[in-house]
Each structure stands twice: as structure tokens, then as C-alpha cells.
Symmetry: C2
Subunit: 238 residues, 2 copies
DNA sequence: CCGGATCCGAATCGATACTG
DNA sequence: CAGTATCGATTCGGATCCGG
């Protein structure tokens, strides 16, 4: 029934009808990192009820935002269509906008691999990167481990298996063989480093962050490369 | 209770918690056109239940997106804060994205003044405008009347009172005194003109659009100025 | 008319359990 | 692994009502 329609003939309204339902945009966010299985999505969205996940995936397929792709070996993955991938700059801009309203983490808030990956993409400063030498580092937040490579102005992020879990087979991209120049661990307070509230030094001193190995001075470069200025209008340059 | 929280510490999640509830982004869309009274919003969102409107306005105020401003003479208006206004490029980008998925209008879909105003902003091509002479025209869709002025690469839109209704007093901006060079009326099918599916000539021939007065050849300029390329990645340049 | 508040049935969401 | 089924808790939608 059309009772749940907004009843307007308008682009914004249509967009909201496609991706405005609860959880939908978070599913898109995770799929922007890469194709994901049903179970991956469920893990990356720990509080999503499974029936809602399945409903949303069905709706997103009907809207042409998501596609269901059977895997040759086993199982299947969901991935964004070209149309769905067009949401990337919008999701990144929303991430920057929301970043400024993030308070301190709630008691049971988690940081997932996909959300942290997108957060780093959100905060990435391509112009700065173009003018800076390569940076290869490893970031630990909770039990999420990310390998971050900034080279020639381009950002690449790999998700490393946290503990005993084997590396995801679908992640066929060549992994960085070289050792990272810097490995550091942080809590959610890493947000204060990215916002500029804390300098790398202050972050270490306050216990928000600690260097596991490598050259600690590279943290300055990291802070320059990943930064969200609180008062900046959310640039949406694709 | 935090049961309705998404349970993630992430910018996108925070954004969705602020403006992801039903109707919230449409309220923001209308407020991007200008400050609005409670009753204006209710009229511009014909299907919104009044309790939902009041709840959303309260939530948006708590989030610092919307502000409630008492008017000197009478009544009060809601307006976006600076933080709320930062959503403009995001809403415009969403409008472009959703535009491509708009089918034909539903039987009871309406076109409101604010949604059409934002749709034109969404479709506006500043680069084209910079290279083209001034255009001053009047657009009728349903009983919405918009005066559109493109001058020196800048777009300005005034909403004209459709019928007997007096002009809104808060709309203190200087209105265009000169007569428009072109007045035309269209149905929702104007979407096909903006998407490029129809040329101005074809739009007239198919009855989607008809010129009320003025120079019909200016429709070509209009179509150049307001265009959404279906296959274009949604540029978010602020 | 403006700016809501209240009430109630319908639809959705959240949590858990269960299945091919 | 990839979902369905079920059921109580919330929210939404529609209508009415109310004080200025």
C-alpha cells in the first residue's frame, strides 16, 4: 500500500524512499568497502535483527542499489551496483557531517572494521597526501586491525584478520608484504586525534593511543593525512 | 533507552541517528529553502502526521540541526542552524541521485513549492550558467509558481503565491519587478525535460509543457541550465 | 488560523528461536 | 551459511481536540 509513501514527486523523496529505511544506509556503507556475505553484514552490524537485514537486502535489490552474486566456490555475496556505488561521495560526506556531532562513545558502542575503514576514507585528505611521502602503517582499534597505505596521493586499506580467524578468501587483493613503518593501537578516542583536539603527542600522553612499534614521529604524518576540520563545510568533491 | 541506537561509534551512524528518522530529511530539505512556520511545513509535507512533525522538530532542535525562532510580529519559525545548513550539498546530491530512480509520478503524488525549488537547485548547472546570458522565467507546475532568475552564473528562485493567497510576509527578499522573458507551465513530466529524455520542442509537442507567454526559444536555455545527466556520478562539489 | 497535544489502530522493528 | 518464523515492544499514521 502507498500509505507509507511520502506522496511527493521529488528526487530527494525518492532517494529517501530507496535508502532511508532504518539500517539501509549502514548496509550501503559496509558494502562500499567491498562485497560482503550475509554473515559478514550481520557481524558488521551487530545489532541488526536478522529479519531486518534480509528485508533490507531484498528492498535494496529491488531498487537496483544492491546485487546478489553467487560465488563460484561456495555461498554468495552482496555487492553494490554501479548505481549504488554512486552513493559513495554522499556517504562519505554524511560521515564527515556526523563526525562533528559524535560525542564520546556509548558504553556498548563498537567500532567495526568496515565502519573504521569508511571513517578513514571519510577523513582522508587527498591534497595533503599528494604533497607528502608514502605512509604505511597498521592501526589497531579494539580487535580491528587495518593496514593503511598512502602512496602517491592514493589511499588503500586492507582489513587484517584480528586473531585466529583466517583471512577472508574473497579478499583477493594483493596484500602488502612489506612491514609497516608504524604500528599503533588506539581506542575510540582516536576521534580526538582526527578532529585535531589532540596532537599525536597529547594522544599518547593521555593514553588514547600507544605506539606498538615503528617510528612514532610518523603519527604526525598520519594526523595530517586523516583530518576532519570541525568547522569545515562538508566538501563533497567526488 | 539505547535499544534504538545502532550501537556503533562512527560518523555515518551518528549522522543517520540525527537525520535518518522518517520525514526528518524532508523537513531539512524544506528548511533549506528558507525559514518555515509549523503550518508551512505541514502544508509542504502534506502526508506528515502532525505529531510526527512536532516530534521531529523537537529532535532536530536537540541535535542542533534546527532552531526555533520567535517572530517579532507574530508566531515563530523554524530555521536551520549553521550545522544544519551544512547538509545542503548532501541533500542536493541525494536529490540528483534519487532523480535518476524517479519513475512516473504516482496517482496522488504532489509537487510542492519547496520540493520543486530544491529540485531546480539540484539540477542547476553553474558552469553552464556562467557562460550563458541572463534568464528570467516563470515556471508553473500544478499550482506552484516559481520565478527563476539566472544571472551571472547565480541562481535565485522566488516562490509566488499561487492564487488568492497573499505573499508570505517573511519573504522579504526583493522580488523581481521586471516581467519574466518566458512563462511556461508543465506537469510532473518536466522531469523528462531535465533528464534530457525530451527536447523542449518534444516536450511541447507531447503536451508535457506549454508556453504561456514570452520567447519559447528560451526553453532551450532553460534545458541547458537545468539538467541532470542520468549516467553522471553525483558530483558533490559544494 | 497558528502551534501543537492526545488517542488509537496499523504497520514496523527488535529479539529470539528455528530451519534447509 | 543464509536466511524464516514468531511475537511482544515501538513507532507511525490518521483523526480529533485544544488553548491562544
Amino acid at each position: 500500500m502507498a500509505s507509507r509513501s511520502y506522496g511527493q514527486y521529488c528526487g530527494v523523496t525518492t532517494a529517501v524512499e530507496l535508502i532511508g529505511e532504518r539500517w539501509a544506509l549502514l548496509i550501503v556503507r559496509d558494502l562500499l568497502v567491498g562485497p560482503r556475505r550475509y554473515t559478514d553484514l550481520k557481524q558488521g552490524l551487530p545489532r541488526i535483527p536478522t529479519n531486518i537485514l534480509s528485508t533490507r537486502l531484498k528492498e535494496l535489490q529491488e531498487s537496483g542499489v544492491v546485487r546478489r552474486v553467487p560465488l563460484m566456490h561456495c555461498g554468495l555475496v552482496y555487492e553494490l551496483t554501479d548505481y549504488g556505488r554512486m552513493l559513495e561521495p554522499i556517504v562519505l560526506a554524511l560521515g564527515r557531517w556526523g563526525f562533528q556531532a559524535m560525542g564520546d562513545p556509548g558504553a556498548d558502542d563498537v567500532v567495526t572494521a568496515d565502519s573504521l575503514t569508511m571513517a578513514l576514507r571519510t577523513a582522508f585528505q587527498p591534497d595533503v597526501a599528494a604533497a607528502l611521502p608514502t605512509l604505511h602503517c597498521e592501526v589497531h582499534v579494539g580487535d580491528v586491525v587495518l593496514r593503511v597505505l598512502v602512496d602517491d596521493g592514493v589511499l588503500r586499506i586492507w582489513q587484517l584478520a584480528p586473531a585466529g580467524r583466517p583471512v577472508d578468501p574473497r579478499d583477493a587483493a594483493p596484500r602488502p608484504v612489506a612491514e609497516p613503518e608504524l604500528v599503533f593501537a588506539a581506542g575510540p578516542g582516536i576521534r580526538r586525534l582526527i578532529s585535531g583536539e589532540l596532537t599525536p603527542g597529547a594522544a599518547i600522553d593521555s593514553g588514547v593511543l600507544h605506539v606498538v612499534s615503528g617510528d612514532a614521529t610518523l603519527l604526525d604524518r598520519f594526523a595530517d593525512l586523516f583530518h576532519i576540520d570541525e568547522s569545515l563545510t562538508p566538501s563533497l568533491a567526488a
